[in-house]
């Protein structure tokens, strides 16, 4: 759910916008190191991938469904800086071409769905992969990172709302409602992100940025039919 215009007051919107601009500026510089001159085509395609996966509805039960946010998934697959760049571009395109998420709330949305998932998720991922190694560690790390990052983003939203919200809601009410709901969403995000990463690891481990060094690439096997020339 993208925050629309009018949810937070003007000063908060401008402040979050400034933070987002700063984060994107740093990411632009660092992503160049992750991808060099391939940045534009690769990051563009990854952004299109994230956009598509955000349309992937997963059933939660009782007729309701959630959708992937994809910040942690992107960070593990292509690296945190490129992921932040991709998420920002996705949110920008969504607000300009799809009217999804307010223009004044763009900074807020970049912080909540880009910066927090990528930063918190990457940190958690690093801690988990330091404990559990190899392929299992990458999948478990991704799932844990996603599980943690969604409620933390919800917490970030509550914090911003306390600061620049337009109505006086009891903090505990908002907090319990937001966190409770987002832990559920986090479980879906965690399971799907973890499984998606492990399915990529199974076929193209070389594509997973976070698994470089952790998972050995499969060796090239040259096979030939042994009984050459033998007739049945």
């Amino acid at each position: 759910m993208h925050v629309p215009d009018g949810f937070l007051d003007a000063p908060t919107s401008i402040a979050t916008g400034a933070v987002a601009v700063g984060a994107v500026a740093v990411a632009l510089r660092k992503a160049n190191k992750e991808l060099d001159e391939r940045t534009a085509p690769m990051a563009g395609l990854v952004a299109a991938f994230i956009f598509a996966t955000q349309m992937l509805q997963f059933p939660v039960g009782a007729g309701t469904s959630g959708h992937l946010i994809g910040g942690v998934l992107a960070a593990v697959l292509v690296g945190p800086w490129t992921a932040l760049l991709c998420m920002s571009v996705v949110l920008l395109v969504q607000s300009l071409l799809f009217a999804d998420g307010g223009l004044t709330a763009l900074g807020t949305n970049i912080i909540l769905m880009g910066l927090i998932p990528v930063a918190v998720g990457w940190l958690v991922f690093k801690v988990v992969t330091a404990i559990v190694r190899q392929r299992k560690g990458v999948a478990i790390g991704t799932a844990t990172a996603a599980l943690v990052s969604v409620p933390v983003a919800a917490l970030g939203f509550v914090g911003l709302y306390e600061f620049g919200g337009t109505a006086n809601i009891a903090l505990s009410t908002l907090l319990s409602a937001m966190i409770g709901w987002h832990v559920l969403i986090g479980v879906g995000e965690a399971v799907i992100s973890g499984l998606a990463v492990s399915s990529v690891l199974a076929v193209r481990p070389d594509l997973v940025y976070a698994a470089r060094g952790a998972v050995a690439p499969p060796e090239l096997q040259i096979r030939s039919t042994r009984s050459e020339g033998a007739s049945s």
Binding site: P59, V90, L103
Partner: protein
Amino acid sequence: MGAGHGHRLHFHGHSAVHRLPAQCKLLALVLFVLCVVATPRTAYWAYALDAAALGVCIAASRVPVGYLAKRMLIELPFVVFALLLPFIALGDRTVVLGVEVSAEGLEAGLSLLAKATLGVVGGLLLAATTEPRDLLAGLEGRLPRQLIQIMAMMVRYLDVTSDQMRRMRIARESRGFVARNPRHWPVLAQGAGALFVRSYERGERVHLAMVSRGYVGQLPGLVHDEATTREWVTSLALPTTAAVAAVAGWWLR
């Protein structure tokens, strides 16, 4: 590949609003929503003025109102939140239609509804009257070049990637699989993984194709029209109205 070109929100037309350069419309919209957000909460007549100004733009664009109204559904989750606000907010109580609600929550809910709706309608109008490539051209030179390039690539391959996912869903459904409960998540996750591999490999192919045509990290500039003073003045009429409404709202509070 079985899908139309252009993006889903665009409404083809040649009205005055369609013809304005994208950068003018974009700046006008950003300033407009900023003014709307900065309008004091209870200045309902200011919202009415903003809505009237936006209405004039919609009329000038000749985009059917129904076309925009259908797409306003995107706002729905926040409408629910706005409607809940009077019941969950604190502060003095007041009675509306025999129900006791929070006066402050009621005000906040109404203003959120008004501001979010104005923002969404403004955004929809921009999307309906502006082609993605014009938008990119309008942003060129105003955002970092790298960001524009990423955006251009994303917009170009958006439909390809989305269609690929749609075809994967159709393939699943034609084999009798519909995800109904969390036990089906692994199937969806594998689909997402496969889509990533396909997107990444497509990115590599596109990159190689670009390199073989002389790409060294820069795209040739997009063709864009410089806006005339008159076009700037025309497009800034909308945010000016909103600014006047906001200032008057604070003045008369």
